[in-house]
């Protein structure tokens, strides 16, 4: 089928099979490999992207269902890593292997957009769907607080 996706502010016309997941289209067709597949089952958050500003697991969304929505990937947040949040992730060492990091940044970006100065509880609630096996959690929390001007 033919669809048009709005990804990072650009429109892409694509011919795909109806069953293609958004994450596969982003990674394989658009070569936006910053979005990762950790489980492919909606349980880890590594594939998080923004859909009209809300974080969603792109492994659980059919690409066709994303038509008509504004999709932002980690590359659209900043491929240079120069947002205040990304800089806070680096400064606080809120990453280890880095595989979950794009998803963490996407979810935290959405959190800060709707709650510019989150409490620790709000951070826990918003970020509990993003697993980090290396255990960077204490510093992810610090990085979000730092980027919100609330600590760090």
């Amino acid at each position: 089928m033919q669809i048009t996706l709005d990804v990072n502010g650009e429109l892409h016309e694509l011919f795909i099979s109806a069953g293609r997941r958004l994450v596969d289209v982003l990674r394989d067709e658009l070569e936006l490999s910053g979005t990762k597949v950790g489980c492919g089952e909606g349980a880890c958050g590594a594939c998080a992207v923004l859909l009209d500003g809300r974080p969603v697991n792109s492994c659980l969304l059919l690409a066709a269902a994303a038509e008509g929505h504004a999709i932002v990937t980690i590359e659209g947040i900043s491929h240079h890593g120069d947002t205040a949040l990304q800089e806070a992730f680096v400064a606080e060492d809120a990453l280890q292997c880095g595989f979950c990091t794009p998803g963490q940044v996407v979810s935290a970006t959405a959190l800060l957009a709707r709650t510019p100065q989150p409490t620790r509880d709000q951070i826990h609630a918003a970020m509990a769907g993003n697993l980090c096996r290396c255990g960077a959690y204490p510093k992810i929390e610090r990085a979000i607080l730092r980027a919100s001007g609330g600590g760090g």
Binding site: V90, L95, G98, F99, T101, R133, P138
Partner: protein, 756 residues
Amino acid sequence: MARLVKTQKEMEGRYEDVWVLVDEDDDLETWGADEDLAIVGRPAPRHDGSARAAGRARFTVDVRLAGMLHAAVLRSPVARGRVRSLQLDAARALPGVRAVLGPETKLSFTARAPVLASEALYAGQPLAAVAAETLEQALAALAALAPDIEVLPHIVDPQEALREQRFASDPTDEARGDAEAALAAADVRVELELETPDHLQTPLEPHAAVAVWEGDDLTAWVSTQGMFSARDELARSFGLRKDQVRVIAEYVGGGFGGKQGAAFAALVAAELARLTGRPVRLVNDRHAEQLDGGRRAATRQTMRLGARRDGTITAIEADAVVAVGEGGLAFPDGMLFPVLVPARTLYRCDDVHAMTFGVKTNLRAQNAFRAPGVMEGTAAFEQAIDELANALGLDPLELRRRNHVEVDQASGLPYSSKQLLACYDRAAELAGWDGREALRAPQPDGLLRGMGCATQIWWGGGGPPSHATIRLDADGQARLVTGIQDIGTGTLTAARIVAAEELGLSLDHVRVSGGDTAPNVYGPVAGGSQTTPSVLPAVRSAGAKVRKQLLQLAGDVFEIAAEDLEVRGGRIRSSDGGLDVDITEVTGKLGDATIDGSGSRGPNPDGFRVHTFGCQIAQVAVDAAVGEIRVERIVAVHDVGRIVNPLTASSQVEGGVLQGMAFALTEELVVDPTTGVPVNGHLDDYKLPTIADVPEIVVDFSHVPDANLPNLGSKGLGEPPIVPTAAAIANAFAHATGRRCRALPMTRDRVLEALA
């Protein structure tokens, strides 16, 4: 002057004598505790942090090559079964399918065990592999294989395997003195039995490989902790020279011990690529990763301790049954990890008897998982030590202090450095150990509180061989090449720090690389806590050679003796203060030439055992109504010698603590005894901790460099922080409730059972 010498090499407590190339010029005076260092020991963000935070880091799963095929693997759905038939030709006939391998296919490479099994020994074992133009076509080919499998009886219960005497290898039997007699004669005796679970590494990037041939040269991107062992394994398996194989592991999405060598993914991707003449990508899906990525083996341990009234430990009897599993390309068959090393060496005791029984069960063979053996052994032994303290009416930390040793109890050799007593003191101070009993008073929130400690021992001394090269250019920019694969530990950043320090440059004048075997600058597997202590001394040696040449050239330019010059902060100064210039005043005259230096890691000194130590103290709150244990705080104080980068070092500790906490509370592979098939091989049911589960974690270090280790005095930090966490939490639970769970993890049902 380079020489070949025979020296002892250690990996996770296994010692072997090997020839190594050493250069006496590489042996520098170890930086002292009060050395005036500009960069080492100060927090520095990762050199590649921005690439990771921006999604630019390219992992193996991100590699896309022109004409690349996608592989998929058929895995056994049963714990044990014989493949009666596979419809290989039906799969081959499907659109887009370019290669199909089955159990009977003659492979062009050799391996230690059947790569594709005709008789599956565990659920998830590979039976067949296909390569197709798209992943969807590859998955369709798997469905067309229509396996007919005769189900055979299985054993997944380690106790049943023990009764059946299904030993994976000869039991280990290690004894000194007469433990039985000493136990009989002891004033006080305690016994503790504990089961520990199958524990999955669960890296978020699964095992993955992309392989491509150019003629007889093979290039493989591999998600591995050991790119050189992967290279050597591929070369050996395919009958190639090492220089014909290039392995790239620039970014690895976690490993925790489970990603060793080339493994199934790279061997099979390379074979499919050879057959098709196309690049081939093979990536485990999550379920395959949880079934076949590896595991820390379940154990059942029994500890019997005897002591005198004054707390002197007089007898230790320990045994462990380890469900090592069976089948697959895992560690050498039957190899046992050192589960009972804590029991044998943590405290002074002359009468010790330890036996380990590895039994074959129909689960994927165990492999390494962060502090393999020692972590689960500590979980049991350090709980027994607390039981002994309880029986003696002694403070648990005091009992540990009274049985402190400065000599390795297994070998009789002194430790190269041991700051454990200082770790106890510091941890007690940070945790408020003196106020521990007050925690047990009735609490306004109705929760039961307690505080417990545990001691950590691990190796982590590193050793040769490890190499590094540095090239300084006309712009005064240095390029450091290492054999490090930085799987998330920050070791490449630490290498950059050491290079900048020794070169006298600022950090932004040093680029560092690793994760590629092509330069053939060797580094060890990222395991055994050995990267920092092995590679960084070689980096410093390479830096010293470049600095020496730079100052000689500066002497030529400014007509000052090189001995009277120093370089620091990118400036060259004379000792009389008359000269103070940027290094480009010298390097700028190089034109297109460069100053090159290479360094190698020298041997550790004879006559010592090199170990890391530490103490963790946990505070927990127990909700007795629902059986929930909440960890409120973990204090972690470790002795790993000099800390190169406190920022990433604290990250290592936090990560280890969280994995240890989850081992204590939530993580367990659950196997259906009827089918022998794991029932929670996914991320929604295998319970990793989330950010909402994180306690306060307080991290500190002894900060005493090991003066007996070359150049830096640093030891490894990968393993130590995971070792004592589970025992500290279990001891805090026992302090709060007076009860113990007989098995980890301490889930609600087990807690309620313990409290009943």
